[in-house]
């Protein structure tokens, strides 16, 4: 008989109850089980009505973010044994409306993301037959870290500003804008500035740094934001001093 551990899971079924409740499940404590394996055990063997998102179970699709013992985590990359002897508290991600149980509504992020134009902008579209745009490994290193974002929303859950300011673009969206701004092939930084250099953009961030702590992929959104603040400040100073010079 394997050891057991208790999961205390937030339940919320809007059709049945106005407020969330907590339900306890006792599950086997296997060495190799992630928290997600525990939830799947609940779903398959104890309670088919529990709802949560998951897919790749290898920390790359970004579906299974939840709050585990108070911290935003990917449940497929967080292991039960690290919480021995339990209980383990599993709640939905914070700062998001809850649809049901552990499923949160991320539509707000999905609507904000296109605003920062997270795609490569070129003055002229060239045909693929022209070959590739050259980019050295050093050029690649300039933005590579910011390209690793899996949109898992842990940083939004961790960020106090996201919880307070509805319009704030948020860490991942700004980091992705920087990912393109810093790409040697991109020529669209000035197009993104109108959205980024605003109170809802980088200036909304008070540099708490929780986003970087929460990020499971070492993207360092806080670093991206601080770096952009310097760019934006230099740019606004330049346009103040040299107003005739195009941005």
């Amino acid at each position: 008989m394997a050891d057991q551990i208790i999961l205390q899971v937030t339940r919320y079924r809007p059709e049945r109850e106005p407020e969330p409740t907590t339900q306890e499940y006792e599950i086997p404590l296997h060495e190799e089980w992630a928290v997600l394996d525990g939830l799947n055990h609940v779903k398959d063997h104890l309670d088919g009505t529990l709802s949560y998102r998951w897919s790749c179970r290898m920390g790359i699709c970004g579906s299974c973010g939840m709050t585990v013992n108070g911290d935003p985590r990917l449940t497929c990359a967080t292991f039960l044994t690290d919480y021995r002897p339990g209980p383990i508290r599993i709640e939905p991600l914070r700062n998001f409306p809850v649809i049901r149980d552990l499923v949160v509504e991320i539509g707000d992020f999905m609507r904000k993301l296109p605003k920062v134009k997270p795609w490569l902008i070129r003055a002229e579209d060239a045909a693929a037959t022209d070959g590739e745009l050259l980019q050295t490994p050093a050029d690649l290193d300039e933005y590579k870290q910011y390209s690793m974002c899996i949109n898992c929303m842990l940083c939004y859950s961790a960020c106090p500003i996201v919880g307070l300011e509805e319009g704030f673009l948020g860490p991942a969206a700004i980091a992705l804008a920087q990912r393109y701004n810093l790409d040697s092939r991109d020529q669209g930084a000035h197009e993104r500035m109108d959205v980024l250099s605003t109170a809802d953009g980088v200036w909304g961030c008070t540099f708490v740094g929780e986003c970087t702590t929460a990020c499971p992929k070492d993207v360092d959104p806080a670093g991206a934001i601080q770096r952009y603040k310097l760019t934006a400040a230099a740019e606004s100073l330049r346009s103040f001093l040299l107003p005739w010079r195009p941005a």
Binding site: C61, L120, L164
Partner: protein, 611 residues
């Protein structure tokens, strides 16, 4: 951080009830749901590429992507090693074609392969222009790495997160096109067919439970594979063969379903993939004696550095078969989750591993607690990819007018009896784009007349079926119990080696499971994000797909590529140089036919590796 402000928010997404009421009212009034010219089902590599192709083909067309997950969650995200496309001087399209065709044990459609190898480089360059962070040479050109079964270095890569970067590049690029409408987290339950052509779908919005009819001039299925039919797979939880089942039920045939690829190097217990790039960079496969056992299986002689099309760079089918033989010889390692062999990367050194295989290291550390720079990685074959799928022509068109398919869910076939690593990502691009263009042309010509009465009646029937499932009371056993038994039956019956006997047992079991499924229990009657209902619908798709795999494997009395019959151990070109096509007949009975392979320039011959 200030935890007082950070809380989940309840009761704020409360659009559910009103939207549901709206949709019901509209349906009662007999009004049609949304309509698009082209509807793409699935938002992974093939689906997003198809949607962009439609948007670029004809600015007047309305195009929508319906996906059961947000597009960036799609399983393309898990692809690691790379994407093949001829780019280097000294390589040639003919060589890529020959590698692909011989790798596929001569079951590939050679006209399709020729189109594929010709268009792959342009598609990969197109992705470069959209910002994909391809790994680079010091001079700034795109870098390429060796890959299994490939005679030249032609596999483009973005470290070992190639699929992740390709998917996010495609998704972010798709945001530029405001005309691409997205239905994120909508599950398609059925295709609507009238007068011999596809007219749309019925789908459930997960958040609200609203059931909607979406009509379309053309539908492109890009739903990926069905690895979850098996118990041990690299595939994400969402890979349940939905698109294959949708097409099959609508009357389109599935092709070559007996060909299931086992990737030789999955982590035990989780089934997480350790990319072939690990062997391309110089990794070795060792048995319990530390012996590079592949030399005993006609795959060449071991050398200190990787040799193309040899040993660890042989094709996946042969490597997975060699593993089974090692187990039989008692030379595998008996681990806590069954037999394994070892993948040895230690001699590559930490620097190379960190630069070229960072995700491999991350996965090993996270899920096995081992550092591949210092320790051996336990691996075993794991179900990875379906060579088979919805039968399409070279333009992605199925025999059912208005229905197209691309990516793993389709079978053109460029993969034949065994896919070469790094051909599937460019396949998503090349045939996603082709299907998008063809569907755009078809939809433009078809016009956008409203749904005819028979389609409305079908939609009403489908809605009743779904409401019945949702309100089912007193079912007998849980979905998961039936699913687990199905997975075991398919693995035991149609695994790496099969026989008439093993397949017959699996077929019987699947019949029994189908009956049990009809009275399965669904405890969740909620309309809001009901994942149990979705799991039930997915299981019904998997039961259909499993049956086609077993049935086609029974019919093919030969061994070819990934289909190895111990009772018919030789390839039989006289009888089976042909693709199987399985149709669903009236009453659900299936019928298998054969379509001769298209041979253009490469006469079937022995597959030779390492000599």
């Amino acid at each position: 951080m200030s935890t007082t402000t950070a809380a989940p928010r309840y009761g704020r997404s409360g659009t559910t009830a009103s939207r549901l009421g709206e949709s019901l009212a509209r349906t009662m009034a007999g009004e049609a749901g949304p309509a698009h010219d082209v509807l793409v089902i699935g938002g992974g590599g093939a689906g997003l590429r198809a949607a962009i192709a439609v948007a670029e083909a004809d600015a007047r067309l309305s195009v929508a992507v319906v996906s059961k997950v947000y597009p960036m969650r799609s399983h393309t995200v898990s692809a690691e090693g790379g994407a093949a496309g001829v780019i280097r001087a000294g390589d040639s399209l003919d060589e890529h074609a020959h590698d692909t065709i011989s790798g596929g044990d001569w079951l590939c459609d050679q006209a399709a392969v020729e189109a594929f190898v010709a268009e792959a480089p342009g598609e990969l360059l197109g992705l470069e222009r959209w910002g994909c962070p391809w790994s680079r040479e010091p001079d700034g050109h795109v870098a390429v790495r060796p890959f299994g079964g490939m005679r030249q270095l032609r596999t483009w890569f973005a470290a070992d997160k190639t699929g992740f970067h390709m998917l996010h590049t495609l998704f972010q690029t798709s945001l530029r096109y405001e005309r691409i409408t997205r239905y994120d987290e909508w599950f398609v339950t059925g295709l609507l067919v009238d007068d011999g052509r596809v007219r749309g779908v019925v789908a459930i919005e997960l958040m609200s439970g609203r059931i909607e009819t979406i009509t379309a001039g053309a539908v492109i299925l890009c739903t990926g594979g069905c690895g979850r039919v098996y118990p041990f797979t690299t595939n994400a939880g969402i890979k349940t063969g939905d698109g294959m089942a949708l097409a099959y039920r609508a009357g389109a045939p599935l092709k070559d379903m007996e060909f299931v690829q086992y990737h030789p190097t999955g982590l035990p217990f989780t089934g997480i993939l350790i990319t072939e790039a690990a062997r391309a960079e110089g990794g070795w496969l060792l048995n319990k004696d530390g012996y590079r056992y592949l030399q005993d299986y006609d795959l060449g002689r071991p050398g200190p550095t990787p040799v193309l099309r040899s040993m660890e760079l042989g094709p996946r089918d042969r490597l997975s078969q060699a593993f089974v033989k090692e187990v039989e010889k008692g030379r595998a390692i008996d681990g806590p989750h069954g037999f394994v062999v070892h993948l040895d990367l230690r001699h590559l050194g930490k620097d190379l591993i960190t630069a070229r295989l960072p995700f491999v290291r991350e996965l090993c550390l996270e899920y096995e607690g081992i550092d591949p720079a210092r320790q051996l990685i336990p691996v075993r074959p794991v179900v990875h990819y379906m060579m088979g799928g919805i039968h399409t022509d070279i333009h992605g068109a199925t025999p059912l007018p208005g229905l197209y398919a691309a990516g793993e869910t389709a079978c053109v076939s460029i993969n034949g009896a065994n896919r070469l690593g790094s051909n599937s990502l460019p396949e998503c691009l090349v045939f996603g784009a082709r299907a998008g263009r063809a569907a755009a042309e078809y939809a433009a010509a078809a016009g956008s007349a409203g749904p005819p009465a028979p389609v409305r009646a079908q939609a009403a029937d489908e809605r009743r079926r779904l409401e019945g499932l949702l309100h089912r009371d007193g079912g007998r056993e849980p979905i998961a119990a039936i699913r687990t038994e199905m997975q075991r039956a398919v693995e035991e019956g149609a695994g790496i080696y099969r026989s008439a006997d093993s397949l017959a047992k699996a077929a019987d079991k699947l019949c029994e499971l189908r009956e049990r499924y009809a009275v399965a229990r669904i405890e969740d009657h909620s309309r809001t994000f009901n994942t149990e209902l979705i799991a039930a619908l997915e299981l019904s798709c998997m039961l259909d797909v499993a049956e086609t795999i077993v049935r086609c494997a029974q019919s093919r009395e030969e061994s070819r590529g990934a289909h190895q019959r111990i009772d018919f151990p030789a390839r039989d070109d006289k009888r089976f140089l042909a693709s199987s096509l399985i149709y669903r007949g009236a009453g659900g009975a299936s019928r298998v036919e054969y379509l001769p392979v298209t041979i253009t320039r490469w006469t079937p011959a022995e597959r030779v590796y390492g000599r």
